[in-house]
Symmetry: C2
Subunit: 322 residues, 2 copies
């Protein structure tokens, strides 16, 4: 299977300039260890609160004018939906978004606010519903991860990491469908070949860890994957993203629900950023899986910040009282 | 009185590269109005959670080796203390920090964690205590705002605003001692002469608004200035910073305590950043003082994120329940 090249990621970087935020790396004096330093890549600062705007914009930007006019359709566990809605509005393209009926109300409301038509569907059916809508309207389906243009767009975050910290020793990236981890691994392995790249999953949705060990896609039932609080990490890799992950990742690490929760609190109190549970898994791995990380600068990607407000309050209260 | 020049700000920008974060401007789709867009300059993302690291590092970096060895002393309502401690540690310089005995425990603990010696003093006496300590030890006093090198360092944030948004129509900056507003106004007025630059204060510490109207420094008693929840904005300008403000600012705006609180909540929920009350006054002015702002892109500086955790939880709970 043909993997995305670093040149495709570079082309994507040209396209997204001025639409996606060029996020800085944030030093974390509070998480320094004698042998290792933590740098956050805060993708929660993107306009819709997640890295997804990179891939969505890249996929939309390459569409010919005639296809744009017919509109786009997307399905998503949440952040991709907002990203396609944002990119479509920026490009003046009509958008229909199919969202899980289990997604937080905040994500659904935010997608509507961006001018998109929203259709709710059960997680297991959303892909089929989206395909049917696209066929019916002659619109283009923008998949959340299973497309080279989406992977190349997400990979621009990896280009920026290599540019800002060419001495990076390890990069930690959350895995759900695997688009972000695939794209970042393409860029980092091409530009910083000595750096280790680790995928990170919640223990409760560790299908990719199992697949990586088995050398082939191992499927977890969706009722298992929905148990994690990291609602952005409940999807599973496609053949395309899994081909990238097996070729490029050094390993897949997992973190517990308690580690995810406490890291959301640490990031708010010590790095002054709001991360959603999915966005906290990579820094959680830095804090709790130190045995496998090489010494030197470690970059952890904070993939998003669209946390349910009540959950965020709960986590901060626990931290204040402990 | 000689004002800091844009060339001094440019020289400071060279010095702080790699120490201070090059913060991006963050688009806020949630705060778009037909005639105006909001861009946040998130200085809460600096290593110590506030813009102060810019000025502190610039002031330290210019010291000759012999003076560095004798150490530095600083006094501060909080964030400047941490900034000097951070810069001193980075430069291997001993630091003594005099902090208000009314400052949040978080700020005091964070300063000690950075390796500095901490001395507590009542707000009205901290300057005198710091001067006495400096004299006693032969150390250099790094003032929080009353120095050209500190003003030039803070001004680097203004250079970055002009670089990222040369079409900026207005810039909103909090005022306490006035170092940040002075430095940013120097850079913005030099590079974007059409842009309006507004200082912003809490209504409960609006001494600079009164001074600006009167054309001379009007002093508020410190017992009045400490009433605001914006504990970083309780200081007052010096002759030097006031000279910059009168020469360069278009006006000084004020915001209420309720507006500050609700804006802290908005910034967390909609822009996924943790702002302290002092850091929220500029975006609060964008949201609530629209009558005086010119149309076009508005940049609001979020000066810091070191909020008391219990206060942050209170504000988020209010927002969730309303």
């Amino acid at each position: 299977m043909r993997l995305v090249s670093v040149d495709e990621v570079r082309a994507a970087a040209e396209r997204i300039r001025g639409v996606a935020v060029r996020t800085p790396l944030l030093a974390c004096p509070w998480a320094e260890r004698p042998e290792r330093t933590l740098w956050l890549k805060p993708e929660n600062l993107q306009p819709i609160g997640a890295f997804k705007v990179r891939g969505a914009w890249n996929a939309l930007a390459v569409l010919p004018e005639s296809e744009r006019a017919a509109g786009v359709v997307a399905f998503s566990s949440g952040n991709h939906a907002q990203a396609v809605a944002y990119a479509a509005r920026a490009g003046g393209v009509p958008a229909v978004i199919v969202i899980d009926d289990t997604a937080p109300a905040l994500k659904i409301a935010a997608t509507k606010e961006l001018g998109a038509e929203v259709v709710l569907a059960p997680p297991a059916e959303r892909a089929a519903v989206a395909r049917a809508l696209a066929a019916e309207r002659g619109a283009t389906l923008i998949p959340p991860y299973d497309h080279p243009n989406v992977i190349a767009g997400q990979g621009t975050a990896g280009l920026e990491i290599a540019e800002d910290r060419p001495d990076v020793a390890s990069v930690l990236v959350p895995i759900s469908g695997g688009g972000l981890a695939s794209g970042i691994a393409v860029a980092v392995k091409a530009l910083c070949p000595k750096a280790a790249v680790f995928g990170v999953e919640p223990e409760l949705a560790a299908d990719t860890r199992d697949s990586f060990k088995a050398g082939e896609l191992v499927r977890w039932p969706s009722e298992d994957r929905v148990r994690t609080s990291a609602d952005g990490l409940r999807a599973e890799p496609s053949e395309l993203t899994f081909a990238h992950l097996t070729a490029l990742l050094d390993d897949v690490l997992t973190v517990s629900e308690a580690e995810i929760r406490s890291t959301v609190g640490e990031l708010a109190a010590r790095s002054r950023i709001v991360a959603e549970p999915s966005g906290a898994v990579a820094p959680a791995a830095y804090l709790h899986r130190t045995d496998v990380l090489p010494p030197g600068p470690c970059v952890a990607v904070v993939s998003g910040g669209n946390i349910d407000p009540a959950l965020f309050v709960d986590i901060l209260r626990e931290r204040t009282h402990s």
